[in-house]
């Protein structure tokens, strides 16, 4: 274990454990959501959290920011929110000499962890302000492009039931999220634990376990995880199976899907798979990683057609069907019984 890569991997594992532990001190349950948020963070992607109000989405993001020594900002999306409110704007300022000049006043996007709360309440125009920031980690204001500080991690939340006065995220915007997590309602034991933890005299405190540089280093480390050819092929075939016009499309996709997952979905599968593999003590991405991450990585990239919407088909159903139908790639020259 004197190998620097080994040490970094060990650091990553311990960071993951520490992060999970700190988050778990505040967040009750939601184990999968916590793991996937950490996964997205280390993969360098963004997360869309979907759930009814009161499940701790905002708390989760805020706690994450506290455990990492990163600059955090929260944007509450409302219908009257303008792009400049997010990105920032040039203001006219007067210096001591009485000269006036434009000075860029950065918006809340200029942080390292950005909570876009109730992102679907803003207009598409405002939502689109996030596009460049999420993809390029840069914003352009008044013709001037400004880099965002790394690591840059956006966590957006949205409420799936209050659709009145909301603006569903456009496909291009959705595609920028690495994972879309559905925050489930807690069970009985978790609810009791929430009561204990939030109504007592002591508020749980978290400690910082990593800083931005460490996160950035771990993000670079994750990308070194090797992926076997057949795993890549499986991920590609899984994505193709969601495309109704594809030869390998699953039956449900042919019937209910208008647009399948994008290549970004495939990238998300592999990147998140790399983090998962390392977190589980492996140094390679396996097909089981791809399968485990297929729902959060692809569910928001599948656009159902009218029939699918009318039938109440969920993207998760399509993905499960695709995983059932898509088999592991044939063995190159060996027994087919291995499938």
């Amino acid at each position: 274990m004197n190998d620097p890569v080994s040490r970094e991997v060990e650091d990553l594992r311990s960071a993951c454990e520490a992060l999970r532990g700190e988050l778990a001190r505040v967040i009750v349950g939601q184990r999968e959501a916590l793991d996937l948020v950490i996964t997205a963070l280390l993969a360098g992607g963004h997360v869309l959290l979907e759930g009814v109000p009161g499940l701790g989405k905002t708390l989760l993001v805020r706690t994450l920011a506290q455990t990492l020594d990163l600059r955090f900002s929260r944007i509450q999306f409302t219908p009257d929110l303008m792009p400049a409110d997010i990105l920032g704007t040039n203001l006219v300022v007067q210096d001591d000499a009485g000269r006036r000049r434009f000075e860029f006043q950065p918006g809340p996007i200029f942080a390292q962890i950005v909570l876009a709360d109730e992102v679907n309440r803003a207009t598409p125009k405002t939502q689109s302000a996030l596009l460049e920031a999420m993809q390029e980690h840069a914003v352009t204001v008044a013709g001037e492009s400004r880099r965002l500080e790394e690591p840059f991690f956006v966590l957006a939340t949205q409420n799936p039931i209050e659709m009145e006065g909301t603006y569903p995220l456009p496909e291009a915007q959705l595609d920028r999220f690495l994972l879309k997590l559905r925050v489930p309602f807690p069970g009985l034991e978790d609810l009791q634990a929430i009561i204990d933890r939030t109504t007592g005299p002591d508020e749980p405190a978290v400690r910082r376990v990593a800083d931005g540089a460490a996160v950035r280093r771990l993000q670079l480390l994750v990308r070194q995880v090797p992926v076997a050819g057949h795993v890549r092929e499986y991920a590609a075939r899984l994505v193709l199976a969601t495309h109704p016009e594809s030869d390998g499309a699953c039956a449900l996709a042919r019937r209910f899907v208008r647009h399948g997952a994008s290549p970004r979905g495939m990238q998300a599968l592999i990147l998140a798979g790399k983090v998962r593999a390392l977190a589980l003590g492996r140094f390679n991405v396996a097909i089981e990683d791809v399968r485990a991450l297929a729902l959060p990585a692809l569910r928001h990239r599948i656009i159902l057609n009218f029939e699918g919407e009318a039938e109440g088909v969920d993207a998760d159903d399509v993905l499960r069907a695709a995983m059932q139908e898509v088999e592991a790639p044939d063995l190159p020259a060996g027994p087919r019984e291995a499938r």
């Binding site: 140094f283 390679n284 991405v285 396996a286 097909i287 060996g334 291995a338 499938r339």
Partner: protein, 524 residues
């Protein structure tokens, strides 16, 4: 990295071998199942159609082919290293560790080796590989098709034990079996005839041949025997008969040439004339010898000499052995000189020579008959020819007791009919009992004025001896062997009634009546 690579290579090499064996076993089992079913089908088909099915050869060839296929497949269809790694990953739930490591090792430059995370991955895979048992990774299982192979093998054994030779009535195989059966009867019949001739005339070769033929015929009659087997047995019998025949012919030729000289040597090996002429000559020689011996020759010496000269010429014509001709010549000289006892002795010698030759000819004729029968049987069985037995068409030999055509039944087989000719029409046309084509045998033809006797002959059609013998000896004087008995009254009455119904002129009718009355009064 070398150690990890070697470790992985060693493990995956063993997995590869086991996978190759397992895969080959499956393929061979599948092929064996198909082959076994086909073989069983082939065996069962022999009950319907007369096809060849050498079970031992077939099973041996199939087994050899499958073993060779197994060896070839194990050698040629060995899965690659990556396939073995993926198989092991999948089988043991190793989360694609080994396959990724194999890919990384294959992709890395040989000198530098993989670096960074790849090296860690390979080390991780090697560590996992250390705990893997190849047997668990690639178990060589008994193919699921095995029960089919076992079932077919049991089926084949049962078929060989209980069903081999059985045929489905009405199908070509049944007809072939009937032909074999029929030829078996013919062989038994000809064997019986040869045996009878051998006993009567003291033919040694025929005596040896007859039991062999009879056994062969009984085998055809008794055992369930295939066409190929029957033809094989007949071929073997033909070879044996040919050998015996050649031996006899050599002996005959030697006897014909023994003691000859000069110009006659050129035709000495020729086969002499038929045995009936020899028998005539022998009888004449014996009569003359008896006469000379008893000094009761009524003729004058010149007459005796002339008879002997004619006999000598006759022997020359028959190409008789030179020794007998010389003895006859000596006898003639003795008679001319009045030495009758010496002449009788010489004639006896000549007769003995001729009798010996006659026995050899009899042997040759019997063997020839047997050979013809065996050949005919072989031809008919090979063609699956008409029923009824080839004995029905065997050419009768003038000197031999020959079998009459098959026993008269409702549809006797026409003697001399062509092999492919259809049998005569009738309700039981060309068939054996129980295999007739008609719905039921027709009613027997009513003979006028005869009360039918409800008595049926038992046995099978064509079975039983029906011999005809040519009596060559002159009739003997003396009392008849069957003593005359008084004509029973009912017979006389029936005779009168029958005569009354016939269109016979009254004068002749009276004469006939008187004749029978005379017979009645002559009886004691």
């Amino acid at each position: 990295m070398t150690r990890e690579a070697e470790l992985l290579g060693r493990l995956l090499g063993r997995v590869q071998r086991r996978l190759a064996v397992d895969r080959a076993l499956r393929w061979v089992a599948r092929t064996a199942a198909v082959t076994a079913w086909s073989t069983l089908g082939w065996a069962l088909a022999t009950m319907a159609v007369p096809i060849r099915f050498p079970i031992r050869a077939v099973v041996a060839v199939e087994a050899a082919g499958l073993v060779a296929g197994l060896a070839l497949l194990v050698r040629l269809r060995r899965p690659g290293m990556l396939a073995a790694a993926r198989w092991t990953d999948r089988r043991l739930g190793l989360a694609d560790r080994l396959s990724t490591a194999v890919e990384l090792l294959a992709a890395a430059p040989a000198a530098a080796g993989p670096g960074g995370m790849a090296r860690l991955q390979i080390a991780d895979a090697a560590e996992v590989a250390q705990g893997i048992v190849p047997r668990a990774a690639a178990p060589v299982a008994v193919p699921k098709e095995s029960w089919m192979i076992v079932a077919c093998a049991v089926g084949l054994v049962l078929w060989a034990q209980f069903l081999q030779g059985w045929t489905i009535p009405g199908w070509p195989a049944a007809r072939t079996a009937a032909v074999i059966h029929s030829e078996g009867r013919a062989l038994v019949t000809i064997a019986r005839q040869i045996d009878a001739a051998a006993q009567t005339r003291g033919l040694p070769e025929a005596r040896r041949t007859a039991p062999q033929l009879r056994d062969l015929g009984r085998r055809f009659l008794g055992a369930r025997i295939s066409r190929e087997e029957a033809l094989g047995l007949l071929g073997e019998a033909t070879r044996r008969l040919e050998t015996a025949q050649n031996r006899i012919e050599r002996r005959i030729a030697a006897a014909g040439s023994r003691g000859t000289s000069g110009a006659r040597d050129a035709r000495a090996p020729a086969i002499p004339a038929g045995p009936e002429r020899f028998q005539q000559a022998i009888r004449e020689l014996e009569t003359l010898a008896d006469a000379l011996q008893s000094r009761s020759a009524p003729e004058a010496r010149e007459d005796l000499s002339r008879r002997l000269s004619r006999l000598s010429e006759s022997l020359d014509d028959m190409n008789a052995p030179a020794s007998s001709r010389r003895s006859l010549e000596a006898a003639r000289r003795d008679v001319e000189l009045g030495r009758l006892p010496a002449g009788a002795t010489a004639l006896g010698d000549a007769a003995a020579d001729l009798r010996s030759l006659e026995r050899m000819l009899g042997d040759a004729q019997a063997l020839g008959e047997a050979q013809r029968q065996v050949q005919t049987s072989a031809d008919r069985i090979a063609r699956g020819g008409p029923l009824g037995g080839s004995a029905a068409t065997t050419e009768p030999s003038p000197a031999e007791p020959v079998t009459a055509p098959a026993a008269a039944g409702p549809n006797p087989v026409t003697p001399g009919a062509e092999a492919g000719a259809p049998p005569p029409p009738g309700p039981n046309q060309g068939s054996l009992p129980g295999e007739g084509r008609g719905p039921a045998p027709g009613a027997p033809t009513r003979r006028p004025g005869v009360t039918p006797i409800e008595k049926h002959l038992t046995g099978r059609q064509g079975e039983g001896p029906a011999a005809a013998r040519d009596l060559l000896a002159p009739g003997r004087m003396g009392s008849p062997r069957i003593p005359a008995a008084p004509v029973p009254a009912d017979v006389a009455h029936e005779n009168d009634r029958a005569l009354g119904q016939e269109p016979i002129p009254p004068a002749y009718l009276t004469m006939i009546r008187r004749y029978f009355e005379t017979l009645g009064t002559a009886a004691p």
